[in-house]
Symmetry: C2
Subunit: 203 residues, 2 copies
DNA sequence: CCTCCAACTTGACAGTGTCAAGATAAGATC
DNA sequence: GATCTTATCTTGACACTGTCAAGTTGGAGG
């Protein structure tokens, strides 16, 4: 847990990131409501009050973890985008699948950042990473904005759909095979969405 | 807080509902992560361990509160449905607005029931109320299911859209008027959704 | 009147976040 | 090298939390 120089006191940044790492891991293990300052401290190999020095209170640590969450969120979307075709439709689909990747790879973190709990919205990293996530999504939506209509209509349409799908995929009760319900793949939804979207620079 | 017969010990059902009432109120005041067994007990006028007798642990109380949450959820949707026109499109729109009503009238409760925290899925009331909520939504979607396609496609499409819209309306950062972003009304999204939905028994 | 039992209360314990005060190492100054 | 300063923790305390075991109580049935 601690690197070779155990004697040497670590720098500010070291422990901060170690505590965030611990927090992400703790969420993975315990679920979206399993965060604990003291347990993060123990995992990082410091005393119970050490986190309080770097992050004023638990909201401070939560905010830093959420910032990391948004960072991973951005990475998941850009990773899909890098492997996508050039057409607006392919790119939008890639973003959506990145969104869903993130939710299924980091379920607790996903729920955590959208849990509605209060974060410190003055935090620089939190703001920049969360805004970047939304910016990525907005960019992919831009080609579908019909002239004369506000671009927010399309953005919120796509965003709501993929967010709702991700969240519901996660919280729904797992299937009882006796019931004839099955959970559709997102591509099915995207096909329907396609009827409502027309790229304004395609033939 | 206690009715006229303070001397008389209350019945099982009385305290149970009083504790659920307290829980709902507590969520309203403190937000989605502000629930506390002991505080519910105090609000209901009983000792700190009384809730443990009726609800084995905090998951038991949480489940009961979530059940109440789904009940209010159903009421919000049926209230809109009662005032809606007869066409499938009007009825589906009514359901969606009921969904949104619920999220804005009971934000903490809405976040709570979809927070991803574990509930007791064996609980009778929790299951019946949550399943009824989904049944109401499914019914409104039924007229739009194209023959030959699984009905889940439409259901999840609508459900995801309205759920995502509700949640994002709630967790998004409030507008900086300097930014030219505005939050569209759901009717705008519903218009786009309409392009993807064709009632199979309308002209 | 007595008994019994459901519905609590009381008390304890380990865990939590937060704060104040103390310790300590690394670097700066003399 | 000795002293001072400061950032970075540690220690200890407090009020709060959920959970459990044991005790109490009041009403119903005999």
């Amino acid at each position: 847990m601690v690197d070779e120089q155990t004697t040497r006191r670590r720098t500010d940044r070291d422990l901060k990131t170690a505590l965030i790492d611990a927090g992400v891991e703790l969420l993975r293990i315990r679920g979206a409501d399993g965060l604990s300052l003291r347990e993060c401290a123990t995992m990082a190999g410091v005393s119970h009050a050490a986190p309080g020095y770097h992050f004023k209170n638990i909201m401070g640590l939560s905010t830093a973890i959420a910032a990391r969450g948004f960072q991973l969120f951005c990475e998941a979307m850009t990773r899909r985008l890098d492997g996508a075709g050039p057409s607006p439709r392919d790119r939008l689909s890639a973003i959506c699948h990145g969104y869903i990747d993130y939710a299924s790879d980091h379920p607790a973190l996903f729920l955590f950042i959208f849990s509605g709990q209060k974060f410190n919205e003055d935090d620089e990293f939190f703001c920049s990473h969360s805004e970047r996530a939304y910016a990525i999504l907005r960019e992919a939506c831009a080609p579908f904005v019909a002239s004369g209509t506000p671009k927010e209509d399309i953005e919120v349409l796509v965003w709501s759909l993929v967010h709702g799908y991700s969240q519901l995929s996660m919280t729904r009760k797992k299937e009882n095979p006796k019931l004839d319900r099955s959970w559709p793949d997102f591509d099915q939804l995207f096909k329907h969405l396609g009827k409502a979207l027309t790229p304004n620079d395609e033939t």
